[in-house]
Symmetry: C2
């Protein structure tokens, strides 16, 4: 028996599209409807069998659904929840895929009724590519990746269990964190690296003739900067949505960068070697744990 009858995916982009494909593959739902803004892309998704039908009106898309998955930019969470709350079927589970959870939880508290809030399971699949759009989606995106859920004190545990099963069906490993802890960890390992890379490239581009400076960059630079090919709109939203934890870790990083700067300026090789060696050890451990 399918885990859900009718799944409504609100926002059929890379994540929403990949989830739809994975749900199909695992036979976890009877039908999938999608809300989006680009009719041509949605029509193509229907023709490819990724979804069953689409609506350009979010209320029509979620009507009758027993699961609604929000997969739109963070800034749209509250308006979309407000738009759909009157038509959500009683007992409908709501979840999301947002990269910052504090702001999503605040939006849900503001927009949903107490009963709806109890069935809202905040979640974040730690997966993606630098591509965007349903055209770049694929069913294997979540395999061997982590999905973090951040249930609230009032969240229905049966709903958490069903969302956990849903993600496990895509091949992901599901872990539970508090909203605050999630936002701190992601600020450190994802949001700050994006800010550093976007900022560095913009800095270098304005330093001198950019075509020339990048012409001598090697493979390491290509790897290091890959995250900057991600959607600027999405990352603007994430940085603003998770501003406090991001600024906290950014300030810590700047202190460390000043330490490294002083070691270089003072030709303190021992100090530099200490920083670099500790970092290499951590990075090697991380790479080994990931199995590559």
């Amino acid at each position: 028996m399918a885990l859900f009858e009718k799944v409504a995916i609100v926002g059929l982009g890379l994540i929403g599209g990949s989830l739809a494909r994975a749900l199909r593959r695992a036979d976890q739902c009877a039908s999938i409807s999608a809300y989006g803004r680009r009719a041509a892309a949605l029509q193509q998704a229907v023709e490819q069998g990724i979804i069953d039908h689409y609506c350009l009106d979010v209320r029509a898309a979620v009507r009758g659904a027993d699961l609604v998955v929000l997969a739109t930019p963070l800034s749209t969470t509250e308006p979309l929840l407000r738009a759909m709350r009157e038509v959500l079927q009683p007992g409908c589970i709501i979840t999301d895929v947002g990269s910052a959870k504090g702001v999503v939880v605040a939006a849900a508290r503001a927009a949903l009724s107490p009963e709806q809030l109890g069935l809202f399971v905040p979640a974040h699949p730690i997966a993606g590519t630098e591509q965007s759009g349903v055209e770049a989606s694929f069913a294997e995106l979540f395999e061997d990746h982590v999905v973090i859920t951040t249930p609230l004190a009032e969240t229905d545990r049966a709903a958490v269990q069903r969302i956990t099963q849903l993600w496990q069906g895509t091949g992901a490993r599901v872990v539970e964190l508090s909203v605050e802890h999630h936002d701190e960890v992601l600020a450190a390992t994802s949001h700050l690296p994006h800010v550093l890379v976007y900022t560095l490239i913009d800095c270098l581009a304005r330093l001198q003739d950019q075509a020339e400076i990048f012409a001598y960059a090697a493979g390491g630079f290509a790897d290091f900067t890959r995250v900057a090919s991600s959607s600027p709109e999405m990352w603007r939203d994430i940085c603003l949505a998770n501003a406090d934890p991001l600024l906290t870790v950014l300030d810590r990083f700047e202190d460390h960068l000043q330490d490294a700067r002083q070691a270089i300026a003072a030709a303190d090789g021992a100090r530099l070697l200490e920083i670099f060696s500790r970092a290499k050890q951590c990075r090697d451990d991380f790479a080994q744990a990931r199995g590559r």
Copy 2:
């Protein structure tokens, strides 16, 4: 006819070993000797046919060579040149593979005779992996990569031409830059990224339980941090050797980072989007120019 009779590679690591393999493949020299410190690895390189013989004494390794390639850590350049200068055969061309050129040129000026200095061709293959050692070397390392030469006013042009041919034979594209320009460009696109990544990982590792924080890091983080698996000793040397250009670009970067910080703190989405969008455009152009 081979381009060189006897090539001596001083330092048989990833770069020196890969160059030896590539020279063999292109049949560019009659024999290859190597100097190194790890007898077991050197013996294995002989058995694998990567080199013809090895010496643990640098004078013995370079005696009779018509080309000496320095491929050791930057801090060893001057002592090694001093050690070998008395035994270098007249007319022997000397080159190096160092990641910073100002410091190498200063060492060559200090250690070599005027005739030897005229035959010294500073060079830098922009290629590598996060691995180290001759065990990780491979003949294709330089294919479709750039090698920058930074000849001096007094450098013999025929020697530059032969070093250019040597690198072209490995499949690389050779370009000429001034010493100063090379060091500025590499500080920006290579040395600063390494400092940022080493520093960030060290910062995060001390922020909280490191095993946990890295457990939730995704593929983007693995790409972003790959450069931190490189040799800490090598990168300490590079940062100290190229300290002035590195500190200059680091200070510029910190100004930009403060701008981005202020945009986040002020919830200035328009400003953030501007920075992120310009960076994405640059990064996409760079990736397209590299053909991936």
